[in-house]
C-alpha cells in the first residue's frame, strides 16, 4: 500500500474542480500555500481570492460569493475556520444555507508540534451543532477526490475536516460518497471499530492484528459522513457487543458522542469505549506520539479491543 497526504490531494484537486465547473471559486486567508491551493491560483487567478489573515472576513466573503451563485471553497486550518470564524459560519453560511464548502486542514492533533492553537480537536462538535451543515472527514485520497466531486453538485454548506499526517490508501477510485454514508472497510462480527480520518488506517491494521493473534474478526467502519450519520451501520456494529469509537478529536462532541447517542437511543446493550483526545490541553508533540499516547494507533486500538474481547461476562445472580 502507498500513502497519501490528504491536504495535498484536496488542495491540488481543486484544479480539477475548477476545470469541471467555471463557478468554482476559492477563498483563502493567507494560507493558500499551506492549503495547497497554488495550482488553482495559477490557472484561475480571477476565481481565487485571498482576504489576508482574516478568517471571519473569509467566511462572510465566501457567503457573499455563494449568494451570487458561485460554488465557494473556503480553506483554512480547522481551528481557525471553525472557531475564529464560527459565528460567520453559523450566521452567514448556515443560516443562509449558502453553497460554501469549508475545508479545515490540520484536523485533530495532526498539526502536532505546532501545538494546541493549530489543532482542531473541537471542530466536529462545533460544526455538527450548526443546522444545515453536512460534516465529512476524509481518510483516503480516492475518498477525498470523490467527496470533492460530490460536493460540486451538492448545493448546501459542507464542512470537510482533513488531517495532514500521511494516510494509507484504502479505496479504489470508484468509491461512492453520500451524506449519511459509511464504508465497512473490514467485515467482522466479534467487535467493531467505528472511526474516521487518520484513525481508519490504524483500525484496519489493528483488525488484521487481532485476527492473527486471536482469530476474532473485528469490523472496521469508516464513518466519513459525521453529520448526517449512518445510524444503521452503528446499530449493526453495536450488535457485536464490543464497540470502539475512535477519532482524532476531543472525546467530547466528536464521533464518539454522536455514535453513543445513536446506540443509546436505539436501546442496544453493548460495551462501548470512546477513544480520542482527552478533554484537557496537551503540550505540543508529534502527532504520531499523541496517537500512540491516546491509543488511537494500531497498538492502542489492538490493546483496547482485545481487553474488551477478553472481558468476563458476569453471571446473573439467580
Amino acid at each position: 500500500m502507498s500513502k497519501s497526504l490528504l491536504r495535498n490531494v484536496v488542495g491540488e484537486y481543486m484544479l480539477t474542480l475548477g476545470n469541471k465547473n467555471y463557478k468554482v471559486v476559492i477563498v483563502n486567508a493567507d494560507l493558500a500555500g499551506t492549503c495547497r491551493n497554488k495550482s488553482f491560483w495559477e490557472k484561475f487567478p480571477d476565481r481565487a481570492f485571498n482576504v489576508g489573515i482574516a478568517e471571519q472576513n473569509m467566511v462572510s466573503f465566501a457567503a457573499g460569493l455563494a449568494h451570487e451563485g458561485f460554488i465557494v471553497y473556503a480553506f483554512s486550518m480547522a481551528p481557525f475556520i471553525t472557531m475564529r470564524a464560527c459565528e460567520q459560519v453559523r450566521t452567514d453560511v448556515a443560516y443562509g444555507n449558502r453553497n460554501v464548502k469549508l475545508i479545515g486542514v490540520y484536523a485533530g492533533v495532526s498539526g502536532g508540534i505546532s501545538g494546541a492553537t493549530h489543532w482542531g480537536v473541537e471542530d466536529v462538535g462545533i460544526m455538527a451543532a450548526i443546522p444545515n451543515i453536512t460534516v465529512f472527514e476524509i481518510s483516503d485520497a480516492n475518498q477525498a477526490k470523490r467527496l470533492l466531486d460530490f460536493s460540486l453538485d451538492y448545493d448546501k454548506p459542507v464542512y470537510i475536516r482533513c488531517g495532514v499526517e500521511p494516510v494509507e490508501d484504502i479505496y479504489n477510485e470508484n468509491i461512492e460518497i453520500k451524506p449519511g454514508g459509511s464504508y465497512t472497510v473490514v467485515e467482522g462480527y466479534d467487535g467493531a471499530i467505528l472511526c474516521s480520518g487518520v484513525v481508519v488506517q490504524y483500525a484496519v491494521a489493528a483488525s488484521e492484528k487481532i485476527q492473527l493473534e486471536t482469530g476474532k474478526s473485528i469490523r472496521v467502519v469508516d464513518m466519513y459522513s459525521i453529520k448526517p450519520i449512518d445510524k444503521e451501520a452503528i446499530r449493526n456494529a453495536a450488535q457485536t457487543g464490543n464497540v470502539i469509537v475512535a477519532q482524532d478529536h476531543n472525546i467530547i462532541g466528536g464521533l464518539g458522542s454522536i455514535v453513543a447517542t445513536v446506540i443509546a437511543q436505539a436501546g442496544i446493550k453493548t460495551d462501548l469505549k470512546i477513544l480520542g483526545i482527552p478533554d484537557r490541553f496537551v503540550p505540543m508533540a508529534h502527532a504520531k506520539y499523541m496517537y500512540h499516547k491516546f491509543s488511537l494507533d494500531t497498538e492502542g486500538l489492538t490493546t483496547k479491543m482485545k481487553s474488551m474481547l477478553q472481558k468476563v461476562t458476569p453471571q446473573r445472580s439467580k
Partner: protein, 281 residues
C-alpha cells in the same frame, strides 16, 4: 425621481408607522429613527429594485448590516410595495410573522441576507460585490447600512481592507453615525474617534453628510461614482438617534423600547408639526 418634499413626506410617514408599531411592540426605535431619512431616500429614490422581480440579476443588493434596523427597512420596503405597512404592524413580533427584531430571510424573501449579529453585513456585502464583478455585472450596486457602534467589530475593518484591495466600486457602505450604542455614548465606551478619516485612510471614497437632511442624502446618492468604478464609497451619515421625537432624541433610553398612547400622540404631533413647519413657507 422624487422631489425632496415628496421624500421628506415619505420619511415622515415611515416615522409615523415606526411609532405606531412602537406603541404595540418593543422595537429598536432609536436606531430606526436615526437612519429613516437615508433609508427612505435609498429605497424610494435610489435603489434599483423591483418588488415584482426580486431575483432579477440586475437589481441592486441591499444588506442591512445593522440588522436591528429591521422595522425601518420593512416600512421602506412596504412603501415600495413589497407588502403593506399594515402587514408589518400586524405581523411584527408574532410567532408566524414575517417581521421581527431582526431581518430574517427564512420568512421574508425581500430580505437579501438575514442579519442581526453585528459586523456581518459589510463583509458579506463585499463578497456579493466581488461576485457581481466576477459575473461581469457592471451595473448593480451593493448597498450596506452599518451603525457607528458596529464599527467596533473587527470584521468591519477586515472587510474595509478587502473592499479596497478588490477595487469594489460597486459597494456603497453607509454608516449611521448617531453617536450612541446600547450601553451609552460611543465616546464614553471606546476610542472610535473620526470614522470618516479611518475609511479615507483605508482607501475609500468618503462622503460626509447630514444624514437627517433629505436634500443632502439625495445629492450624495445622485453623485455616487459609477458601479463600474474602482473605489468603494463610504457615506458617513451624521444622524441623531431617535430623530424627530424630542423625548427620544440622543437618549440612550430609546435604543429599544415601547411607547404609551400618550407618548405616541405627542410624538406624532411633533412629526406632523415639524413637517408643516419645514414646508409651510
Amino acid at each position: 425621481m422624487k422631489t425632496v418634499k415628496e421624500l421628506d413626506k415619505a420619511a415622515m410617514e415611515i416615522r409615523v408607522n415606526l411609532l405606531r408599531l412602537c406603541n404595540r411592540e418593543v422595537i429598536h426605535i432609536g436606531g430606526d429613527l436615526s437612519i429613516t431619512d437615508v433609508m427612505t431616500v435609498l429605497w424610494l429614490n435610489q435603489i434599483h429594485y423591483d418588488p415584482q422581480n426580486i431575483y432579477d440579476e440586475t437589481r441592486d443588493r441591499f444588506i442591512l448590516s445593522k440588522g436591528h434596523a429591521s422595522a425601518v427597512t420593512s416600512f421602506c420596503q412596504a412603501a415600495l410595495g413589497c407588502f403593506s405597512p399594515e402587514d408589518v404592524i400586524n405581523e411584527y413580533a408574532t410567532d408566524q410573522g414575517r417581521f421581527s427584531m431582526h431581518s430574517c430571510n427564512l420568512v421574508n424573501p425581500y430580505v437579501e441576507v438575514s442579519t442581526g449579529s453585528l459586523g456581518h453585513g459589510m463583509p458579506v456585502a463585499c463578497g456579493i460585490a466581488a461576485g457581481l464583478r466576477l459575473k461581469g455585472n457592471t451595473s448593480s450596486r451593493v448597498y450596506t447600512v452599518m451603525g457607528d457602534g458596529e464599527q467596533s467589530e473587527g470584521s468591519i475593518w477586515e472587510a474595509a481592507m478587502n473592499a479596497v484591495h478588490y477595487k469594489l466600486g460597486n459597494l456603497v457602505a453607509v454608516v449611521d453615525c448617531n453617536g450612541l450604542e446600547a450601553d451609552g455614548f460611543i465616546k464614553d465606551i471606546t476610542g472610535l474617534n473620526d470614522i470618516a478619516e479611518k475609511y479615507r485612510c483605508f482607501g475609500w471614497n468618503v462622503i460626509e453628510i447630514d444624514g437627517n437632511n433629505i436634500a443632502e442624502i439625495k445629492n450624495a446618492f445622485a453623485n455616487l461614482p459609477q458601479a463600474s468604478s474602482l473605489q468603494p464609497t463610504c457615506i458617513i451619515a451624521h444622524t441623531v438617534k431617535g430623530k424627530g421625537v424630542s423625548f427620544m432624541e440622543n437618549n440612550v433610553r430609546w435604543h429599544t423600547g415601547k411607547i404609551t398612547e400618550d407618548e405616541l400622540e405627542k410624538a406624532l404631533s411633533e412629526l406632523y408639526s415639524a413637517y408643516e413647519r419645514r414646508w409651510s413657507a
